[in-house]
Symmetry: C2
Subunit: 343 residues, 2 copies
């Protein structure tokens, strides 16, 4: 029913390959013929069938993005950066949300087989070796955002530096008992790479040591996830101690939110009773006046998208992996939002 390349060819009085040529902007077509074909296309309202084209070219003009939670402001912001780049590049973006670690396996299993996308961007984790190999066999480039892995192109920040900056700031404020809350130490599926949370901890420890303060493992708490609830629970462990810290460095703003919530319940006022520094600088941070370490989230996405895109086109990419800068953003440390007694 729909008009095909044959209809156009017939209408223009040429062969289908000529139509294909003008469609693909191949130069080997006489201007005159080109016009004629274009007119036929216009007249018939012809639109190439993407499915057929995909099969022929064996690609799908799509890049996939694998992220763990659509609920994470950080990941969604990275996604924004990716989306913008891809949109102007004329590529489709399909998202795969993990939600559970087990889905990660099965998803990657599927993804690495069928040609569902021409390139893949993975946010905040690194796929296991076998998947990487399979993607390679299919010539599907994979790049990671927010995670550093020597094996594949990665876009990340200097998390050690970030942790250092945050801690240093707290130290500068006169704090000596500084807690640290991270998501988790162990990579969920033990597949190499540098966990951001662990790196931030290294920076934290380094700053401590430089200031002559011994590292106290009891001051580190794991939340498991980057979520407010879990952050609050992790904070509670720290804040319930007799020798509770006077300041906390949270590995993400979302966790910091949990800390705030916990502090509020405990009747601790920020920043007087408890100083707080987050990480990421999500949109919300400026609203609540949270001091944090800013990561260029959109930029990360943009770079990752640019890299996969070029790799997909077979272009040579100069810097396959890129480290982006972090920056400490000092705010009133939630002072603007003082506590009020609950009803």
């Amino acid at each position: 029913m729909p008009v095909t390349i044959y209809d156009v060819a017939k209408a223009a009085g040429v062969g289908i390959s000529t139509v294909s040529r003008v469609l693909n902007e191949n130069t080997n077509v006489r201007e005159e013929t080109r016009i004629r074909v274009l007119e036929a296309i216009e007249a018939l309202g012809y639109k190439p069938n993407i499915l057929a084209r995909n099969l022929s070219r064996s690609h799908v003009q799509t890049v996939g993005v694998v992220l763990s939670y659509l609920t994470s402001p950080f990941q969604v912001t990275v996604l924004q950066g990716i989306e913008r780049f891809l949109a102007q590049a004329g590529l489709d973006l399909t998202i795969f949300s993990l939600e559970s670690p087990k889905r990660r396996e099965t998803l990657l299993e599927n993804l690495s087989h069928g040609r569902r996308c021409d390139g893949l961007i993975v946010i905040s984790f690194t796929p296991q070796q076998r998947f990487l190999q399979r993607f390679q066999r299919y010539h599907t480039p994979v790049v990671i955002a927010d995670f550093r892995d020597e094996r594949i192109p990665s876009v990340y920040v200097d998390n050690v530096e970030g942790g250092y900056l945050a801690t240093k700031h707290l130290l500068g404020l006169g704090h000596t008992r500084i807690g640290y809350i991270l998501d988790h130490t162990e990579p969920p599926n033990g597949s190499g790479g540098n966990e951001p949370g662990a790196d931030r901890q290294r920076g934290y420890v380094r700053a401590l040591l430089e200031a002559g303060i011994p590292f106290d493992p009891m001051l580190v708490s794991e939340s498991g996830l980057h979520s407010r609830e879990r952050g609050a629970v992790a904070a509670e462990r720290l804040l319930n101690r007799a020798d509770r810290p006077t300041a906390i460095f949270a590995a993400s703003d979302v966790i910091a939110l949990g800390v705030m919530e916990c502090a509020r319940k405990a009747g601790l006022a920020l920043p007087d009773d408890l100083a707080l520094v987050g990480f990421d600088d999500i949109e919300l941070a400026s609203f609540i006046g949270l001091t944090t370490v800013r990561q260029p989230m959109q930029e990360m996405g943009r770079h990752a998208a640019e890299i996969v895109t070029r790799l997909m086109r077979g272009e040579k990419v100069e810097r396959m992996s890129r480290q982006l800068p972090v920056e400490l953003v000092v705010r009133e440390s939630c002072g603007a939002l003082a506590l009020a007694e609950r009803g």
Copy 2:
């Protein structure tokens, strides 16, 4: 290079159509043969080529979601609901972010032509008639979330009721000068349908009238977008008046955030100097203790996804359009986050 259906057929000593049959779980295959084919598939590590399958079946196993901003917590939450449903249904999800109204035209233009997705979910706006027709010609079902349009399946809430509930609550608190901030009155591209913001205003007016308070147009302010910044600007117009309102109903939580920011700058304490009610109940609302009208965002996404999916399969859908309930969630109205003087 990769193993095809022919390789499997040869290895199993059958014809390719038989392999195809077992692949598609067609019953007309002798159990014995089936096993043999399955073994060959296993042995060769065969994976069907999706591109070829797509061309043959002329579909892509993908549904597209068109949203205006990936920065909108509301839309992202609806997206979550969609994603969950689609993932378990084994369908891919590709997202199209608008960002600018002009992109909307070109995007829909493209989308409505090529078979890039088998179904489409549009969030918070309604496509123009010509696009709808084109999608219909291609048998691509379109459903809308967060917008009601008689022409196509829509999932929405009773916004009039929502506005009524919010206003009624404020009235109950003793307020008589209640402001209303909405995104915009005019549909950006004048394409019919019921604008949520306008409906909420109807509920607002109704509540006012019922309480014997005349509707004052000067108490309504437009922000243009659902954004904190724009919300703050719109709030400023209201709050700068000599006869400023003592309460504000914001058409979204994000706008309410802007109102809070504005109030903070103006030195107004919530909820004492200014009462506030938002709309949506985004994740953040509970954190800051904002009273709001909850919409079941994930549910909206889920329903929309379910409807397109069934429509794609040619199934009959009982209720093509669905209205979901709204609910007033009373919180301390930001009282928990009292003001503190700025440095």
